[in-house]
């Protein structure tokens, strides 16, 4: 119920608030979707997905390249973005799931960096470190408000899809694998195949986030695939709460809001982000949303004990 209320509030906001805030909220949606997709693998799947934004960048670049370099109908780009991201996810995931923990993460960083290096250097195709700017959009997405609504609706659909996956037998199995891979293996679950499927699904959603980023910004640049961004998304998941469903969304919103408002006063944003991260690690490892859910549960059990 509160979610539906929030959705309605978000629907009526854009005409009332200044353009800048509309843009910031839309950016929160895009970043939030990216963080949610990462959390499917990291928080729910327990894998060290260290270079998630490579897939985000692949999704964004696929759309950008189809819109600027080809004469294909525009909708092809919007469909191709997530699919290409998922295909790259399938390839990289297939190579990675054979390995354990840290080696998984390291192999992914190297493969992701390979993609980054190609994008960074292939001037004739991707414009290299300049990126592609002023990407043409369908007329229906011409204004900021219409982009906002498009992003909001796609985000809502993705969240419903993610929630269904999270609660499905597949999602539950994935969480069981995170908690005890040996036992899952012993009861006949194909651990590797489940992990690979999770990676493909997550990279698909990160591709969607990449497409939405292009819709919002109309530009792409190699920093989208740089590993620093990947770790920043990691922080968002941690900040919101690993083991909650909507936590990463909250974490992304907090991060984007902080970056915007801290950026007004100082250029030392990463310093502040680092301090926040250290405080989180020491005092709030379960994240903001995780903390509140825990508190809520505690109060619930206390109340029940008092009733007895």
């Amino acid at each position: 119920m509160p979610i539906a209320g929030l959705f309605i509030v978000l629907l009526i906001l854009p005409p009332i608030i200044p353009r800048f805030y509309t843009y910031i909220i839309a950016l929160m949606f895009v970043t939030g979707l990216l963080a949610m997709s990462l959390n499917m693998v990291v928080g729910h799947g327990g894998m060290f997905q260290f270079h998630h934004c490579a897939f985000y960048g692949v999704g964004a670049y696929s759309l950008a390249l189809i819109l600027t370099k080809t004469t294909l109908p525009m909708w092809v780009g919007f469909v191709a973005g997530p699919i290409v991201a998922a295909l790259v996810g399938l390839l990289i995931g297939w190579l990675c799931v054979r390995l354990n923990r840290l080696y998984f993460g390291m192999l992914q960083i190297s493969l992701g960096s390979l993609i980054w290096a190609i994008v960074f250097r292939w001037y004739s195709l991707t414009n290299g470190d300049d990126g592609i700017h002023g990407i043409p959009m369908p007329s229906i997405l011409s204004s900021l408000n219409s982009s906002y609504y498009f992003i909001l609706i796609v985000l809502a659909i993705c969240l419903v899809g993610m929630y269904l996956i999270f609660k499905s037998p597949f999602g539950t199995t994935l969480q069981a694998i995170r908690d005890n891979p040996q036992r899952c293996e012993a009861v006949g679950v194909n651990v590797r195949r489940h992990q690979l499927a999770a990676i493909v699904i997550a990279t698909f959603f990160s591709g969607v986030a990449g497409v939405l980023f292009v819709v919002l910004e109309r530009s792409v640049f190699p920093d989208l695939l740089f590993w620093v961004l990947s770790l920043e998304i990691f922080i968002m998941c941690l900040l919101g709460g690993w083991f909650t469903f909507l936590g990463p969304m909250l974490g992304a919103a907090i991060t984007v809001a902080l970056r915007t408002f801290v950026g007004i006063y100082t250029e030392y944003w990463t310093l502040i982000l680092g301090v926040i991260l250290i405080l989180l690690i020491f005092f709030l490892p379960e994240g903001v949303l995780g903390y509140f859910i825990e508190k809520f549960k505690e109060r619930g059990t206390n109340a029940m004990q008092e009733e007895k």
């Binding site: 390995l99 080696y103 390291m106 960096s113 290096a117 250097r121 982000l273 680092g274």
Partner: protein, 298 residues
């Protein structure tokens, strides 16, 4: 330059030496990361920032002496010590309280350290490009196989093996080195025989970071020192220790050689995509041997 000219013996030989001297810098930085990885089992994401601090401190120390040769040598000695001090403070104040926590938290802590140190460097030294001069003896170049080779790179070719030998002596012949190797294999057992594991970890961390600082100080005369040089080196260091075998010092050497040489030859074959060659080599090696070329200490 047409293809025929690109593959003359002299061009190949000089690129080989360029790659080799690049590999020496990479090795010094990566051996430090590998050492920390072996003992603490944490990929130190802040390693690149410490490398950058090493370069900037070398600049400050050298400019104190107005660019005289004494300044250069003092910078080479004291800049890594500054880095070691920074890492000691970070370790004792914050990092050491996290050893009981899960791996991911340690890794994220080092990432936080990287973010903070990166901005602190910007606060201290500003965003301008800096450079320092090598002593006159190392300036200029000498002809080798018909092409000019910078003298300073020859100096690097001597320093690299020296560091490798000292590290080998340290880990195999000294008590603390042996303890740290033991802690890498079985930390509970090391604690059980009455050794303060927390201090062993601190020592390993500081030594690893010292090597990062040394790499930074050594690279300082050959590059322009600027903020952002941490981002480049750290990912290379990650990949090198991975293809070498996590925590294996000789693996770091093998990895550095592969990385440096593929990059140097890549420049000959396809200059625009030279940056891609080392990454591609890493991917091929990891597909062929997923846990690295040499045995990991894990």
């Amino acid at each position: 330059m047409d293809i025929g000219q690109a593959f003359t013996f002299s061009a190949l030989a000089s690129q080989f030496l360029v790659g080799l001297s690049r590999a020496m810098i990479l090795f010094i930085v990566c051996s430090g990361m590998s050492f920390v990885l072996g003992v603490l089992r944490v990929p130190n994401v802040a390693h690149g920032s410490l490398y950058m601090i090493g370069a900037f401190s070398a600049f400050s120390i050298a400019s104190l002496f107005g660019g005289s040769p004494t300044g250069f040598w003092l910078a080479l000695i004291f800049a890594p010590l500054v880095v070691a001090l920074v890492s000691l403070i970070a370790e004792r104040a914050l990092f050491c309280h996290l050893y009981e926590r899960e791996h991911l938290m340690l890794l994220l802590f080092t990432f936080a350290l990287m973010l903070i140190l990166g901005d602190l460097v910007k606060l201290t030294w500003g965003a301008e490009y800096r450079s320092i001069m090598a002593p006159p003896f190392f300036r200029g170049s000498i002809p080798i196989f018909g092409s000019a080779f910078p003298r300073y790179n020859l100096f690097l070719l001597i320093i690299g093996p020296l560091v490798a030998i000292s590290l080998w002596l340290f880990t195999n012949k000294t008590k603390i080195g042996k303890i740290s190797r033991a802690a890498a294999v079985d930390r509970e057992m090391v604690g059980a025989v009455g050794i303060n594991v927390s201090w062993v970890f601190a020592a390993a961390f500081v030594i690893g970071c010292y090597l990062a600082g040394l790499g930074g100080a050594l690279v300082a005369p050959t590059v322009s020192i600027t903020i952002g040089m941490d981002h480049g080196i750290i990912i290379e260091a990650f990949l090198i220790v991975t293809i070498g075998g996590l925590g294996n010092m000789w693996g770091a050497l093998v990895g550095s050689l592969i990385f440096g040489l593929t990059q140097a030859f890549g420049v000959l074959f396809w200059p625009q995509f030279a940056i891609v060659f080392p990454y591609a080599a890493v991917v091929i090696i990891l597909i062929w041997r997923p846990t690295g070329m040499l045995k990991s200490v894990w």
